[in-house]
Homo-oligomer: 457 residues x 2
Amino acid sequence: MVERIKVVLDEREIPRQWYNIVADLPKPMPPPIRPDGSPVRPEDLAPVFPMNIIEQEVSTQRWIDIPEPVLEKLLLWRPTPLYRARALEQALTTPAHIYYKHEGVSPAGSHKPNTAVAQAYYNKVFGIRRLTTETGAGQWGSALAFACRLFGLQCRVYMVRISFDQKPFRKMMMQTWGAECLPSPNPGTKTGRAILEKDPNTPGSLGIAISEAIEDCVTSENTRYSLGSVLNHVCLHQTIIGLEAKKQMEMLGAYPDIVIGCAGGGSNFAGISFPFVCDKIHGRDVRVIAAEPAAAPRMSMAPYVYDSGDVAMMTPLLPMYSLGHTFVPPPIHAGGLRYHGMAPLVSHLRRLDLIEAVALPQLECYEAAVMWARTEGFIPAPETSHAIAAAVREARRAAEEGRERVILLNWSGHGLMDLTGYDAYLSGRLQNYVMTEEDMRRSLEAVAQLPKPPPLG
Amino acid sequence: MVERIKVVLDEREIPRQWYNIVADLPKPMPPPIRPDGSPVRPEDLAPVFPMNIIEQEVSTQRWIDIPEPVLEKLLLWRPTPLYRARALEQALTTPAHIYYKHEGVSPAGSHKPNTAVAQAYYNKVFGIRRLTTETGAGQWGSALAFACRLFGLQCRVYMVRISFDQKPFRKMMMQTWGAECLPSPNPGTKTGRAILEKDPNTPGSLGIAISEAIEDCVTSENTRYSLGSVLNHVCLHQTIIGLEAKKQMEMLGAYPDIVIGCAGGGSNFAGISFPFVCDKIHGRDVRVIAAEPAAAPRMSMAPYVYDSGDVAMMTPLLPMYSLGHTFVPPPIHAGGLRYHGMAPLVSHLRRLDLIEAVALPQLECYEAAVMWARTEGFIPAPETSHAIAAAVREARRAAEEGRERVILLNWSGHGLMDLTGYDAYLSGRLQNYVMTEEDMRRSLEAVAQLPKPPPLG
C-alpha cells in the first residue's frame, strides 16, 4: 500500500468541547476598557452581542461544551482531514515532516464557518432574528451568510465597496445563501451618508464597514452584530481545529516541534495553536509561530497598546499589538490579513513569549503558494500562503541543520475565489509591500496617544 | 450524539481496481468505426493516445488494477465522503432518504481529476512528455493541468474563446498549475488560422477546440491528446466513485432504490452508476437515471447512430445517441452538459433499457441548486444541479406515494467558479432553453445521413 498521507477522523470523534486558553494563562490578560479607562462591563456589550456570547467572551472556564445543534452543522464538513505534505517535502529536499490541517473543505472554503455557525446558533436561541456584519474580501461575509441560512436568521453584510465592485463572486455566494450584501459606505446608514457626502467615490474601508454594521445593529429591531475574528469567543470557537489536529497527530504517533498559522485578526492562528500553547504552558517543548504579512507586521514590529478595533472607535479599547486604528494596510492580496491590530488573546501570548511572530513579504508567500499548488495540488488562499511560506522557511532551516523537525500548519482556506493574485504573480505584475522605518515612525506617532496596558504582573 | 450524516472511508479502504462494465454487458456494444465503415483498429488511435490507454479502451477484463502511483495521487482527496442530505429531505418533507457522493473535494473541484490523474500517469510511463486537450468552461482543462503537474508533464489546453474571455478564473487555475491555456481558435494551428481568416471574431466552439488539440498533438514531438469524457477508459477511471459509494452505503446498511448522475459526455454518470448497473444486470432491482439538460436531450429524444465526437470529424465514428456533431447546444450555464453525443457505453446501456434518462430545464435545476445550497450548505456546479433536480423530482414522488425510497446522487462538483449563473437566476434574468419539435426536426435531418449501428443481436 502507498504511504499514509491523510488522517480522517470519524465524525464520532469530533471534539465535543472548545478549549478556552484563558483558564491556563500564566498571567492574566488586561481587560478591555472604555474610553474613560474603566473596564468594559458585560452590559456595555449587550446592544451589540447577545448575552450568551458575552458570557463566553468573559468566561474563564477551561472547557466549554459545543451545543448539539452546532455540532450537527459542523459535521457537514468536520472533522477536517490532516495531511502530510510529502510532495512538498520532496520538492524542498527537507528532512522535516510537514503536516497540514485542511480547513478549505467547508462550504464557504475556509475556517470562518467554525465560528459563524456557533454565533448564528447563540443569536438564534437568544431570540435574535437578524445579524449584521462587515466583510472585506468576503470570506467572513460568506461564512456568516451560510451560517445564518442554516439557522433561519436574516443576514446583512456591509462589504467594502472596492471589493464589492472588484470581487463580485463572494457577493454572489452570500446571495445564493440568501443574505443581503450591500456596498459600504452605504446611503442607508448615517455613517455611510456622511462619508458619501464628503467623497461619493470613496473605495470604502473595513473600518467604515464595521461602523455601518454596528450602527445598523443598534438601530434595528431584534438585530445583533457578529464579528469574524479578534474577540475571545471567536478564538474559542476556532480551537476545534487544533483539538482535532492533536488527535490526528496522535493517531500518527507524531507531535509537532513547530505549529504555524497565518495571523490577520488572529482567530485561525488561535484555532490551530491554542491547544498546543496549552501544552507549552504546561512544560512541553513546542514553538508556535504567527505568520504576519510584512505589510502589517503587528506582533513583529508594533507596540502593545489599548486600541480600538475599528476606525470609528465604536468598539471598546482592546489590549493588543497595533499599528493604530487609523493605519490603512497596503493592498496586498491577502485581504484577511490587512488589519491594524491583533486578537487580545494572541497578543497576550506574544507578550508572554509563548508564541513567536514572523513577517513575510507578499512575493515570498506567492512563491510558496505556487510551489504548494504544484506539489500538493490544492490552491491556497493568499492568507494561507503566509503560513505556507513560514513553514517553507522552517523546512529549509531543518534541511540546513539536517534535523527531522515536525511542522504543523493550518491550511486556513482555498484560493479559488482569489485567483487574480496568482495571475498577477505569475505574470510578474505583483509587488512587495514592506513596512519601512518611515511607515513605522508614522504609525508609532499615531499610537503614542493611546493608553498603555499595565506592565505584566 | 447527533445523527450520522456523513460516511468517510479510511484511505486504506480505497478501491484498488476499476470496474469495467464491458465484461458484464448482456449484449455486446457495436465497435467504433472508420468513415469507410470498417472497425477502428488500436493502431489507428496510436498517434493520438498512448498504447497502454488504447489497451484499456478496448479491454474486456472486468477488474483493472489501479496503478500504485495513481492511487497515491487519488489519495490526495479520495476516498470522498458520502453524505445523507437530511436537511434537504426535511425541506422537501419527503420520506425518501437522499444520499450524495461529494466529488467536489478534489483540488480542481470536480470528479474530473479521477481520470486526469490516470491519463497523465499512463502517458508518463509510455514516455510521453506533453499532453494537449480542449476545454469549454474549464473544468476538464484545469483537472488535466493539475494532473500533468503531479507527473511532470507539459500541458496545453485549447479553451473555447468565449469562455477564455468571459471566465478567466479557470485559465488562472490552469496557469497556477503550470499549464498553458490558449484561446481557441488559435492562429498557432492550421485549423485555427483557417477559422480566424473567415471570422476573426468567432466565439469558438468545443468542436473547433478538439480539432486544434488533436492537430497540435499529431504535429508535435512526444505529445498525445487527452479526452475528459465519452470514451470507455474515461468511464472506467470514474467507476471509483460508485465503488466507494457502494462500500459507504453498505456501512450504513443501505442500498439505493435509485441512482442518479448528470450526463454531459457521460463519465460522471458512468462513475456513480456502473457498479450499480452491474448489480442490475445480475438481477438486483435498482433504477438508474441519467439527468440531461432539456437543451441537449440526447438519450431522452435523439436517435442512436454512428456519429463523430467532434465537429471536424477527427475522431472515429462512435455508436451513440446524438443530436448530430454540427448541433450547437444553447448557452445553458451547465457548460459541461453542452455536448451533442453521449458516451457509447452509457448509450448502449440506455438502448438495453438498463438505465433511464430525464431531460431537465435550466430554471428547475437552479431552483433545486439554490434549495440545496440553503439546506445542505455546499453550492453545486450547474452540471450537478441537474442530478439534484432529478433527485428532487423522485423525492417528491416518494412523498406523494408515501414510500421510503433510497436515492443516491453524484454531487459531481462545486459551483464556486460558476456563480454568475446563480446571480442570473436570483435576479430573474435566467431563461429556459428547451429543445422544440422544430429544433429536433433540424437535428434529425442532420443525423439522417449518418451510418446506423446494427440492431441489438
